[in-house]
């Protein structure tokens, strides 16, 4: 039975792509109701099959550790792209705890977002196109998580990039949306180029693309040579893992490649919900987790990952405090949470005596906690976005300063979002509490005290900005006039359903911590479990909420405005996101376009082409000179003939 289920696990992917093909090619002009039925049925079937596979996996694979010590299962694998006799890229389905977890998360959220979109997009003329693209995204994302090798992952990695591009620019007549889609694609593409280089290095030295091979001890030793002589010498393992991580750097929008994510909010809200918070942006985390044994073999890589993650977490949280656009607040909060996940993977490396990282001790909690946070975050962040979408749909504005008093008008949304905000703030017993607690614990256990403090402070900031958003939106009185505010059942149902995992995902803590682990190359010892941590973390969260209540409670803003003016130039600096977008703009337009592309264009037209034209001109000049001999004078020709004849007579002797 289980074998039968695994053998047909391709259905999880096949159903969404079928939906894309049918809607995209066949039902382009069809009636909405047909499309709704088809899209929802197929995504429900995909979800059903994913759940079935997950159950089968839990029972057969995880239930029989003696048969499957590595907890992995490759359902099928076929050669797709042959490079040379020794190197072939396959397409396969690879099941292990994290990929099964992701399959479930993606199909469930995809289904809910499909339902939600029926309500959200109902007046849009491109209704059908939206569902087609959504299905394409589900397909690509599922393909990404079930990849059995790194090239397959790159393939789907690019495909999610494209579906994200198409969905951000869904309203293609809006210039800002078009610009945002281009920005998202180019920034992630920039990171992907490094990812590709990393793949080249790893596949060359590791002699395979397969995760199973790459995660085994041999490639780590094969890769542990140095590359380039002298002072340029770098360790290949560190170099390649960092390059591969660069792909995740872009996709998961870590600083300084985070700039595309806030702009990506130009897309429809269901898209932001599924792609830019719950699933696609965690691809970077997933990639790191997937290659974790290899990453952990390097001395430097995890440290870099940890610093990048921690910095992004607090950096984005600081920016989120000042934003007024509801979706941008959530976008920065996503960035901050992604930072958590990334640094959680990074802190898996234990600091040994004297602060050196040489002893490659690995604390598996960092890995498990990151995956657990991916899981919980997907649900509550998805819900936050869906809730924000419902609000935007109702009041036709993104500006939280123009909202207020929506509690009475949208009660279901209010209560659901309250649960989500408590979860993201990390309040007991909501899901976010457990996963965040696990991350902080991992940081503390591994001895990364600074990172731990950053995580703790970020937790407080998170609670503060989430409740700032919450109070300003729902409490107090309306700060502008709303017409016809109502809750659409298509949209409310998924939001309410998402409260279930948001509240109850904490029950899975033990499962994640003890079972969702990976085969790391070095075994770890036992770690202490400080009992004070949960209380401190909750205390910080309540501190943040309390501060938000003081400043913004009952929807008032006067105290906050006073504080803003006190902050002086600091406030505009943060509000404008530290002017990083402007720096990028400067680099691309002033340096790349004006200092590289334009000179090349000039060089091509003037120098290269000029040389060619010069050759032509010289030939013409020669022709003009020779032409003078042909003067049409019969006497001249004849004299020349005779002179030539006489010359030949003498020269020819």
């Amino acid at each position: 039975m289980a074998d039968f289920i695994f053998a047909h696990s391709y259905l999880i992917l096949a159903l969404p792509i079928l939906s894309f093909i049918i809607i995209g090619l066949g039902l382009n002009q069809a009636d909405k109701s047909v499309v709704i039925k088809l899209a929802i049925t197929l995504s429900a079937l995909s979800m059903g099959y994913a759940l079935l596979t997950a159950t089968a996996y839990l029972i057969t694979v995880m239930g029989q550790p003696q048969l499957y010590p590595a907890q992995t299962l490759i359902c099928f694998d076929f050669a797709w792209l042959n490079f040379s006799e020794k190197l072939t890229a396959n397409m396969g389905i690879y099941l292990d705890p994290i990929s099964v977890m992701m399959i479930v998360v993606i199909t469930v959220i995809s289904f809910l977002v499909n339902v939600y979109s029926v309500g959200y997009m109902k007046d849009d003329p491109s209704f059908n196109r939206f569902f087609a693209l959504l299905a394409l995204f589900s397909f690509s994302m599922l393909g990404l998580v079930i990849s059995s090798n790194i090239l397959q992952m790159f393939v789907f990695w690019e495909l999610v990039g494209v579906s994200s591009y198409a969905l951000i620019g869904f309203w293609y007549e809006k210039p800002s949306a078009v610009a945002a889609s281009k920005k998202a694609f180019v920034v992630t593409r920039f990171a992907d180029a490094f990812f590709l280089i990393g793949i080249l290095i790893v596949s060359f030295y590791g002699r395979s693309f397969d995760f199973q091979v790459l995660n085994s001890p041999e490639p780590a030793t094969l890769l542990s040579n140095s590359f380039l002589p002298g002072i340029f010498s770098v360790n290949i393992l560190t170099l390649s893992t960092l390059l591969i991580f660069a792909g995740g750097w872009g996709k998961s929008a870590m600083f300084p490649l985070h700039i595309w994510l806030p702009d990506a909010m130009e897309g429809p809200t269901p898209v932001s919900s599924i792609i830019h918070s719950a699933t696609m942006v965690v691809a970077g985390v997933y990639l790191t987790a997937r290659m974790f044994p290899l990453f952990a073999a390097s001395n430097t890589t995890l440290v870099v990952i940890q610093f990048i993650g921690a910095f992004t977490a607090i950096f984005a949280a600081v920016i989120a405090i000042t934003q007024v656009d509801i979706k941008r607040i959530l976008a920065f909060s996503t960035l901050s949470q992604l930072g958590y996940m990334i640094f959680s993977l990074g802190v898996a490396k234990v600091v040994t005596e004297g602060g050196h990282h040489h002893g490659a001790d690995i604390n598996p909690l960092g890995y498990s906690a990151a995956m657990y946070h991916v899981f919980t975050h997907a649900f509550f962040k998805c819900m936050l976005f869906l809730g924000a979408g419902a609000i935007i749909h109702a009041v036709h504005s993104n500006d939280i300063m123009k909202m207020g008093g929506l509690k009475k008008l949208m009660p279901k949304t209010y209560w659901s979002l309250l649960a989500a905000c408590l979860a993201i703030a990390g309040v007991f017993p909501f899901s976010g509490f457990w996963s965040k607690d696990a991350i902080l614990l991992a940081a503390l256990q591994s001895g990364h005290n600074i990172t731990f403090l950053v995580g703790l402070v970020t937790g407080g900031l998170t609670a503060f900005y989430m409740f700032r958003f919450f109070f300003l939106t729902f409490h107090g009185v309306a700060r502008s006039e709303f017409h016809d505010v109502h809750e659409d059942p298509w949209m409310t149902t998924p939001i309410v359903l998402l409260t279930i995992p948001t509240i109850s995902a904490g029950l899975l803590e033990h499962f994640f911590v003890s079972r969702v682990t990976t085969q790391v190359l070095t075994e770890s010892g036992h770690f202490a479990h400080p009992g004070w941590l949960p209380f401190v973390a909750t205390g910080v969260a309540f501190g943040g909420i309390g501060l938000a209540w003081i400043l913004y409670g009952r929807g008032k803003t006067d105290r906050a405005v006073a504080l803003q003016s006190m902050a002086g130039p600091l406030y505009p600096l943060v509000y404008n996101k530290f002017y990083i977008d402007e720096v990028y703009l400067f680099i691309t337009h002033k340096i790349i376009f004006l200092c590289i592309a334009s000179p090349i264009k000039w060089f091509d037209r003037s120098i290269v082409d000029g040389t060619m034209n010069l050759c032509g001109w010289l030939l013409q000049l020669g022709g003009k000179g020779v032409r003078l001999l042909q003067n049409g004078q019969l006497h001249f020709y004849l004299s020349m003939t005779i002179i030539g004849f006489i010359t030949l007579l003498f020269v020819g002797q």
Binding site: L628, Q630, N631, G632, Q633, L634, H635, L638, S639
Partner: protein
Amino acid sequence: MTLSHCITLSLILCAIGVYGILTRRNLIGILLSVEVILNGANINFAAFAHFKATDPTAGAIFPIFVMAVSACEMAVALAIIISMYRRKKRLDVSRLEELNG
């Protein structure tokens, strides 16, 4: 009369012809000079045939060919000259330079 007499005669004729072509500006004059050169060549043919060849008929045939061809040539050339004259009203070669490059 020896072969060298004949060759000298043909050389003189040829030189006269070349001189004529180079100095004459009138097309008719140039044409006449060309005829003189051709006749010089004919004399050569006939003389070599007479003094050297085992079968003199072959050498004798060539002048006849040349005469026939030059007659044709003359006809064509005169036709061109006449039409040229009709068009330009003059036959001065130094002014007829449409074929310059």
